[in-house]
Assembly symmetry: C2
């Protein structure tokens, strides 16, 4: 949120940025965002201003303070935040033998493949749109666009690997199944 609030934005705006651009690696609900904005303002990391909205109730926009900017920078200087990932579908995969039915396991992998390939398609769409609108894509992007593009690059690579892994896994489960039936 400190990263997003270089320019003033409302909680609602922040939610939209999470959905649009950070979707692949971070999510947050409005019920988490609003109290946190207040807390961060209390701590002096943000300042806020109320203003009329074109549509709907009064907007309150927040912007980071000098202290907020410093806190963001020290977070970045602390080094990469690693080792906190929690990937539900891999935990499930680990225990898939408990289904006692290879067909159910294949179905699981096919569902996952569908999810990942939809995700890949949406990342590819985002890339196409970006390429169409920004003549500098991807090698002459502005400073503000360059690092976000790195995360898109990683998203594309990772999701492609995920789809390939699903295909490989389905083939391997089928192969075991066939061997079992021959034996």
């Amino acid at each position: 949120m400190l990263g997003m609030l270089r320019e003033p934005h409302s909680g609602y705006d922040i939610k939209k940025t999470f959905e649009k651009s950070l979707r692949s690696f971070w999510r947050a609900e409005l019920s988490q965002i609003y109290p946190l904005l207040q807390k961060m303002e209390d701590e002096g990391l943000l300042t806020s201003k109320a203003g009329a909205s074109e549509k709907g109730p009064t907007r309150r926009v927040y912007k980071r303070s000098a202290k907020g900017r410093e806190q963001l920078q020290s977070w970045l200087l602390e080094g990469p935040v690693v080792g906190t990932e929690r990937i539900g579908y891999l935990a499930q995969t680990y225990f898939l033998a408990n289904l006692k039915d290879d067909d159910k396991a294949i179905e699981f992998m096919q569902d996952l493949r569908t999810y990942l390939s939809d995700w890949l398609a949406s990342l590819e769409d985002a890339e196409d749109e970006w390429r169409a609108n920004d003549p500098g894509y991807p090698d002459k992007l502005s400073d503000e666009s360059f690092y976000p593009q790195l995360t898109l690059d990683m998203g594309l690579a990772k999701v492609r690997v995920g789809v390939e892994w699903c295909d490989r896994s389905i083939a391997r489960i089928r192969d075991r199944q066939a061997k079992r039936n021959n034996a």
Copy 2:
């Protein structure tokens, strides 16, 4: 935890399994494990038995009940748990321009590369060890080993992609830096 407790294990054992085998995609602290074991026993998902330990204080081992097994199966049948990933270093990457110093950003990426390549080495070691001890690796594994091996396969693929992405990103940041200095 329901997946692990097909055979009786203590909270301490469960923690070790998280560290050894699920490290790449799930982590849990003892302070989360112990209360949860008690809660799950209260809910009738687990049964427990106290017994002497070879070293240290009394061990309490838990095993899943029929109800626990059913709950595990319905979790697996609900389909893949997706969309909950939260990857700290990508959130940082997105906002790296705030450092206002390409050298610091390169340092960030190099630190990340070091972390990921250490992780890759440990996964490769795990695979080598497995291959050395199990003549069926990877195509004739037992049911209990096959699905865990799928998660190792994914871990290897994903971390390799991560290392490549770091290398590519470092090169791209350097390239921008060089162009800026020429201009």
